[in-house]
């Protein structure tokens, strides 16, 4: 993080909550109860408040996820370029439906809102990496690199 003026941030004790939640979720795969309780204590917030914030954001899972998270865009530009076929191909490769995690815990599979790669539709992200101009046939190859 860029060092910043302390005065600006200390205005409100909650200012660091979102980065802290993200940090925990990133390191532990999800926000488990210990993490949320710990942060609630640290920020002097009730548990329900931390839970309320966490469950608002798509990138703050409160349930365990797979080691890699596949996020396929389901918005209009990708939809027009047959994202459905790509989704079908992932389903077949992994044997799981969107919203599920593979039995071996390697992949979670989600359909998400526009990821800003509409000029390379259909597109998806695996963790933080973007894959564009997808074809159903190319999916197996990409997934293999995460095996």
């Amino acid at each position: 993080m860029v060092p910043s003026k302390k005065e600006a941030l200390s205005e409100n004790g909650r200012a660091g909550l979102l980065p802290a939640l993200k940090d925990r979720a990133g390191r532990e795969g999800c926000l488990n109860r210990e993490s949320m309780s710990g942060l609630a204590g640290q920020y002097h917030l009730p548990l329900n408040e931390v839970y309320g914030v966490s469950t608002f954001y798509a990138f703050l899972p409160v349930l365990p996820t797979g080691k890699n998270i596949i996020r396929v865009c389901r918005c209009l530009p990708c939809h027009l370029k047959d994202a459905q076929a790509v989704i079908g191909s992932i389903k077949k490769e992994l044997g799981i439906a969107p919203g599920e995690t593979s039995g071996d815990g390697k992949f979670s599979f989600e359909l998400v809102s526009c990821i800003g790669a509409c000029d390379q539709a259909p597109a998806m992200m695996i963790n933080d990496k973007l894959y564009g101009d997808l074809t159903p046939a190319g999916i197996a190859e990409i997934l293999k690199s995460y095996a």
């Binding site: 993080m1 860029v2 060092p3 910043s4 003026k5 005065e7 600006a8 205005e11 409100n12 909650r14 200012a15 660091g16 909550l17 979102l18 980065p19 939640l21 993200k22 920020y43 309320g52 914030v53 608002f56 954001y57 798509a58 990138f59 703050l60 389901r74 918005c75 209009l76 530009p77 939809h79 027009l80 998400v112 809102s113 526009c114 990821i115 800003g116 790669a117 509409c118 000029d119 390379q120 539709a121 992200m125 933080d128 990496k129 973007l130």
Partner: protein
């Protein structure tokens, strides 16, 4: 008409990781001029005179907004750059941040001088995480050059919520809360982040600032239309042969953009401004693009003659329903009810009453929702009803047929069981 690259003028010709290459192309001359030769009031006057308007969707006069924040006495003021870019079909800010982060930072440096902010944030959407480190490094290089003595810039990353692009939700998110919208007034320039005066500007808006300071308000306002000055950066996708980012003078027509530059043919319609954008039939291709007509975030999705408009609006509504913050009734419940209707229409289970329901819901949501998401969710629905009414009627007639047919089948098989 050809592209007119002003905002994008340095994209591709500098190394986005090396401030030296940006300075070699005339970078930070505007900032030094603003810092050493202009009073904050003069900067604001110049921006106001230029007619620069917000590029994030609402199109508010930028200088006017700055003036308001400047005029308020407060212990601190904030500058926020909105890099949440969640509007469906929009990727121009990503292009800018990837290719010319220094242009944005210079714009922010000048805005900071103008409004008197000591702290600024760039709110970067989580989906653009790969830009986080490069942006932090770019800010670091600017700081090393000594151009950030008056204000610090921190990159703040979102956590996956389209609504956090709405200015009040964005502030809630930075404050560590749920990214829900707030009612207005108060507006951010009077009461924003932590209750203090705050200016929120889109990436592209801020990119224009150094150019205006360098070339003058008159140069800028000579381009464009009555209320829309300068250029606009568009993101074009969908049924085109050359999808991508294009910068055109304000007031250029849809045809120039979608057909001329992006190479669409056989169009049925375009949607302008993302999932909450207008859906216009191909017969309106000669419409100029400006705040006075249609613009939004500058996302243009082309739809060819094979496309099903009801499927398109259903996809829009799916997105809006997923991304509604859930705070207010019309949007939280209305998008869900609409999605149920579109689902039935798509499955061939629609009926005439659905059109009235969609119309009544859209009209109520447009005027009673708490923020722009719920208000604008009505736009694609009302536009599709206006321009593609027959598609709805055809679908419903097909539904009647399908129902009677399936109903008969069902009846037969039930008889068979008995």
């Amino acid at each position: 008409m050809a592209e007119k690259r002003i905002v994008l003028s340095k994209c591709g010709s500098i190394d986005p990781q090396d401030i030296g290459t940006y300075i070699a192309k005339g970078g930070f001359i505007a900032f030094i001029k603003a810092r050493d030769k202009m009073k904050p009031q003069a900067i604001i006057a110049e921006i106001k005179k230029s007619g620069l308007t917000g590029r994030g969707g609402a199109g508010f006069n930028t200088g006017l907004k700055w003036e308001l924040a400047r005029s308020i006495k407060a212990k601190a003021k904030y500058l926020l750059c909105n890099a949440d870019e969640g509007e469906v079909g929009t990727f121009k800010d990503k292009y800018i941040l990837s290719n010319d982060p220094f242009g944005l930072i210079e714009g922010m440096c000048i805005a900071g001088l103008a409004i008197g902010a000591q702290q600024a944030f760039i709110y970067l959407r989580n989906e653009y995480h790969f830009l986080y480190d490069p942006l932090v490094r770019a800010v670091g290089q600017v700081r090393e050059k000594g151009y950030l003595k008056h204000m610090d810039i921190q990159v703040f990353e979102g956590a996956g919520a389209y609504i956090c692009g709405e200015e009040s939700a964005l502030m809630n998110s930075i404050e560590g809360m749920r990214g829900e919208s707030r009612y207005k007034p108060p507006y951010p320039p009077t009461r924003g982040l932590w209750g203090l005066p705050t200016i929120i500007n889109n990436v592209e808006t801020l990119m224009n600032v150094p150019h205006i300071i360098n070339n003058g308000a008159a140069w800028f306002s000579a381009m464009g239309t009555g209320r829309s000055k300068g250029t606009k950066v568009f993101s074009v996708s969908g049924d085109v042969s050359r999808p991508g980012v294009y910068e055109l003078e304000m007031g250029s027509t849809l045809r120039e953009l979608v057909v001329g530059l992006a190479g669409a043919d056989d169009l049925k319609a375009v949607q302008i401004g993302g999932a909450t954008g207008n859906i216009l039939p191909a017969s309106m291709l000669d419409t100029p693009l400006s705040h006075e007509t249609y613009l939004g975030s500058g996302a243009v999705v082309a739809l060819n003659s094979g496309r099903d408009i009801i499927d398109v609006v259903q996809n829009d509504m799916h997105f809006l329903n997923d991304e509604s913050c859930g705070k207010c009734t019309p949007c939280r419940e209305g998008t869900e009810v609409m999605l149920e209707i579109f689902g039935r229409l798509a499955r061939g289970e629609g009926h005439e009453g659905d059109i009235n329901s969609l119309d009544a819901l859209a009209r109520a949501m447009a005027v009673s929702s708490l923020c722009g998401l719920g208000q604008a969710a009505a736009v694609p629905v009302l536009d599709s009803l206006r321009y593609f009414y027959n598609d709805y009627i055809d679908r419903i007639n097909q539904s009647h047929f399908l129902r009677s047919y399936l109903g008969g089948e069902l009846f037969k098989s039930e008889e068979g069981i008995r």
